[in-house]
Assembly symmetry: C2
Homo-oligomer: 304 residues x 2
Amino acid sequence: MQDWAGRIRGGERLAIARAATAIENRTPEAEPLLKALFPHTGRATVIGITGPPGAGKSTLVDQLAAQLRARGKRIAIIAVDPSSPFSGGALLGDRIRMQRHHSDEGVFIRSMATRGQMGGLARGTLEMALLMDAAGKEVILVETVGAGQDEVDIARLADVTAVLLAPGMGDDVQAVKAGIMEIADVFVINKADQPGVARLEQDLRAMLSLAPQGKAEAPIVMTVASEGSGVEDALSAILAVRGRKSRDEAGLWKMRLRQMLLDRLIERLPDEELGTAAARVAGREQDPYTALDQLLRRWFGYTG
Amino acid sequence: MQDWAGRIRGGERLAIARAATAIENRTPEAEPLLKALFPHTGRATVIGITGPPGAGKSTLVDQLAAQLRARGKRIAIIAVDPSSPFSGGALLGDRIRMQRHHSDEGVFIRSMATRGQMGGLARGTLEMALLMDAAGKEVILVETVGAGQDEVDIARLADVTAVLLAPGMGDDVQAVKAGIMEIADVFVINKADQPGVARLEQDLRAMLSLAPQGKAEAPIVMTVASEGSGVEDALSAILAVRGRKSRDEAGLWKMRLRQMLLDRLIERLPDEELGTAAARVAGREQDPYTALDQLLRRWFGYTG
């Protein structure tokens, strides 16, 4: 284990890849390995990239990766995909557009599937980021598809969260934007060569002007990621936030520990007993609140 | 309490509205009220409508509501919005397009804000549906914006889940579709008068053909909800599934009880102790796994 951890810290690709697989498959080795690596984490900058489907996240991540490489940074890309229930794995694989980075030793790319369980962002995403951090990656880009829970989760993970928007995404974008307002450190308006950009920026500024202190200053950057334009500005804006933001590591870890605790508690709920209670409730023999009180008393020794 | 419950069961609008507010604000009255109402639930058909932003969910729900009213059904509409962190309430309010149903006594409309907490779908959504069920609503339409966790949650709530798609939503829709494949009973392709419909249908059928048994038969219905066309077919397809589906009430309640248990456990985690542990982890004095083991042992009396 110590040898494996040492090779990871030395940046050995194969050792890192094996660890990534152990984390994703939750093998028994994963936890002791992460325990050994943990003291060597806390140095990387984790950048979360999120936004509604179709905004161009993969393209932007690809371009940010190229920029970071040009600046000589060792980086990792973690692409979180919704699980395909049919293939069981990450649907988009390592993503076509990322291919050009695959032969670059300075870039480690990993796709992860969310498991459709509690917490949209894969439970292992935090562990994957810790692994990359221990392996000496200086910047970790975490891309997540989604418009709901994932975005709350990414704020729990990332040092800086960039929210990507694009013009012409329909009525509901209004609603989506609201859900992610809270977590955005930087806004990137992508596809800035398309109609509706001025309107989108105006809407965004209007929303931000209603924000409590601080949020109003979240910068808005325009990009056409498919052509690479504006990407350098976007990266600079992101890194500037990182420099400015006083990092509340303890606050972050509080949220993370809470999530990890819940994951463990879920695993331990006695399935059979839960099933018996559910059958009683379904038959209207007992209401769900009474059933809950009984289960809590029996399993955790306290009353409702 | 019994009197209030009686008035709700009699369909009194004011009593229902007061209960809905109690549920949303989690006042102490909510739980005893729901206990009293619970034996009178289990009759309504709950239809979940979900899909990516911009697909036209609100418009379809509005049209389905009109169809159901034309068939003489008493209905409720629960629109789940991402919380606006600024206003603190449901962003879209009761939604402009729903206005025409507001004066109709047979329709009860309620918007709910998701709280950005665990579980994208508002914790209270199940309770709201139980309330409407006890109040004698025959069909409950639950609309949710989102493309991630919400969709898993809606499958936990609804008898039939309709997934709405629309052509021209960008690359990532591929990924979004995968996440919701598992829960769809009916697919509705909206905006069927726009380019790209044939392609979308073809992609969808290709994905379904890879599905394990059962899923391949999920019907696909075309609509142009803004003009009302195809809506009657969509409703018929949804209700046909409801008739065919053998309802695993006990299985549903098992998922729901698990979620409710977790909600309670979250509330009870001693915040201060968690904060102390988080500070140790953030300072790299302790790894998160050791911290978790200690917390689990102290709080719940068992070992890691």
